[in-house]
């Protein structure tokens, strides 16, 4: 691994910034002013300087060609540490000490992926998850629109009326707090290219998206809803216990939140059915 011109190790120019998504703060320690600027641009209202964090990463920047770019994402637990690797980053952190290290080139995509994976690991322990879904708050309630690529997540987000607050058009953040499921805004943007608003609301429904000549909502039975939800939950780790936790989380979620299929024609009338 080739370090960049910025050497490892903390010095007086190091700065901790905290990126808080879903109410879970993750600190990043870096001495690179350019990288800090990049983080500010990327995470905007989700970012602050200093303060408490649930996990703290030291970020060491390396040259862009330090890794094999063809390497797929891999996440595993070894010797008490989570290891996160892909063709553009290497990271590890300890669930016990809550400290870790990231090696990556100075680009926003790598840190974005490390944050997403870390959040999936943190959420799995508490019944939450990240879902391939756009989401929005309307009349104080959150609605999730789930599907894989081309299902219409961004289309639904683009069609949202003015009284809807967009949480994300890409990855919805679901937490269980006091037996209630909440959706949070995330900076994880899809084709829309805009971060969601940093707000949260109780989840009223999940809509599984299907494009259609007409708008129609049909209830999805619990087992089928769980199967389809599991297909859309972001999950990277090769770890049997974590798979079990995610499965239980999906089952519990479906027992508490109604899941529908939303067959929709892509124009603004679809929102007449929502909220």
């Amino acid at each position: 691994m080739k370090p960049s011109s910025h050497g490892p190790g903390r010095d007086k120019s190091d700065q901790d910034v905290v990126i808080e998504i879903g109410g879970i703060p993750i600190a990043l320690e870096t001495n690179d002013a350019g990288f800090l600027t990049l983080l500010r641009g990327r995470y905007g209202e989700y970012m602050r300087v200093g303060g408490k964090s649930d996990v703290k990463f030291r970020v060491e920047l390396v040259e862009p060609d330090s890794f094999n770019p063809d390497d797929d994402a891999a996440v595993w637990l070894e010797d008490g540490e989570w290891h996160l690797e892909r063709g553009d980053f290497r990271a590890r952190w300890s669930p016990e000490t809550r400290e870790g290290l990231i090696h990556q080139a100075p680009n926003p995509y790598s840190i974005d992926s490390v944050l997403r994976i870390t959040h999936t690991l943190l959420l799995a322990k508490t019944g939450g998850f990240l879902l391939h879904a756009s989401s929005a708050v309307r009349n104080g309630k959150a609605f999730l629109f789930s599907g894989l690529s081309e299902a219409g997540k961004t289309t639904i987000a683009r069609l949202a009326p003015h009284d809807a607050t967009l949480l994300t058009d890409e990855a919805s953040y679901v937490r269980r707090l006091n037996d209630q499921y909440l959706a949070y805004g995330t900076p994880f943007a899809g084709e829309l290219g805009e971060p969601g608003k940093n707000v949260s609301a109780p989840i009223a429904a999940v809509y599984l998206l299907a494009k259609s000549p007409e708008n129609r909502i049909t209830k999805v039975e619990p087992a089928e809803a769980t199967r389809r939800l599991l297909r859309n939950i972001l999950f990277f780790a090769h770890d049997a216990e974590l798979v079990r936790q995610v499965f239980e989380s999906a089952c519990d979620f479906v027992a508490a939140v109604p899941v529908y299929q939303l067959s929709f024609f892509p124009d603004e009338r679809v929102w007449d059915l929502i909220g």
Partner: protein, 98 residues
């Protein structure tokens, strides 16, 4: 020669939940998902390691679905073989203690 008995138990490498009248099962090894129909659900729920498959067929399947023993036995054998091949059910000729 009489056919030996089969005893079934749920694999420890899967997570499962009864939802409505269906069971959804997920392999914790490779995340494969299985959805059981009502017949499969009855067999799954009865797979306690001590009840022989022949008794599950007669006392559960024939009773609940009003089908002849031969047909229920064929369906059950096929289902058990498939689930065992996927590592969802563990099958033994002896009772299985957990």
């Amino acid at each position: 020669m009489p056919q030996s008995e089969k005893y079934l138990t749920k694999s420890k490498t899967v997570a499962a939940r009864v939802l409505g009248d269906e069971v959804i099962i997920m392999s914790t090894a490779d995340s494969t998902i299985f959805m059981l129909n009502p017949t499969g659900t009855v067999i799954w729920q009865a797979a306690d390691g001590n009840t022989p498959l022949s008794r599950i067929i007669v006392e559960k399947l024939c009773e609940q679905f009003d089908v002849p023993v031969e047909q229920a036995a064929t369906d059950a054998e096929d289902f058990v073989a498939e689930m065992a091949a996927h590592g969802v059910l563990v099958v033994s000729e002896e009772p299985i203690s957990r």
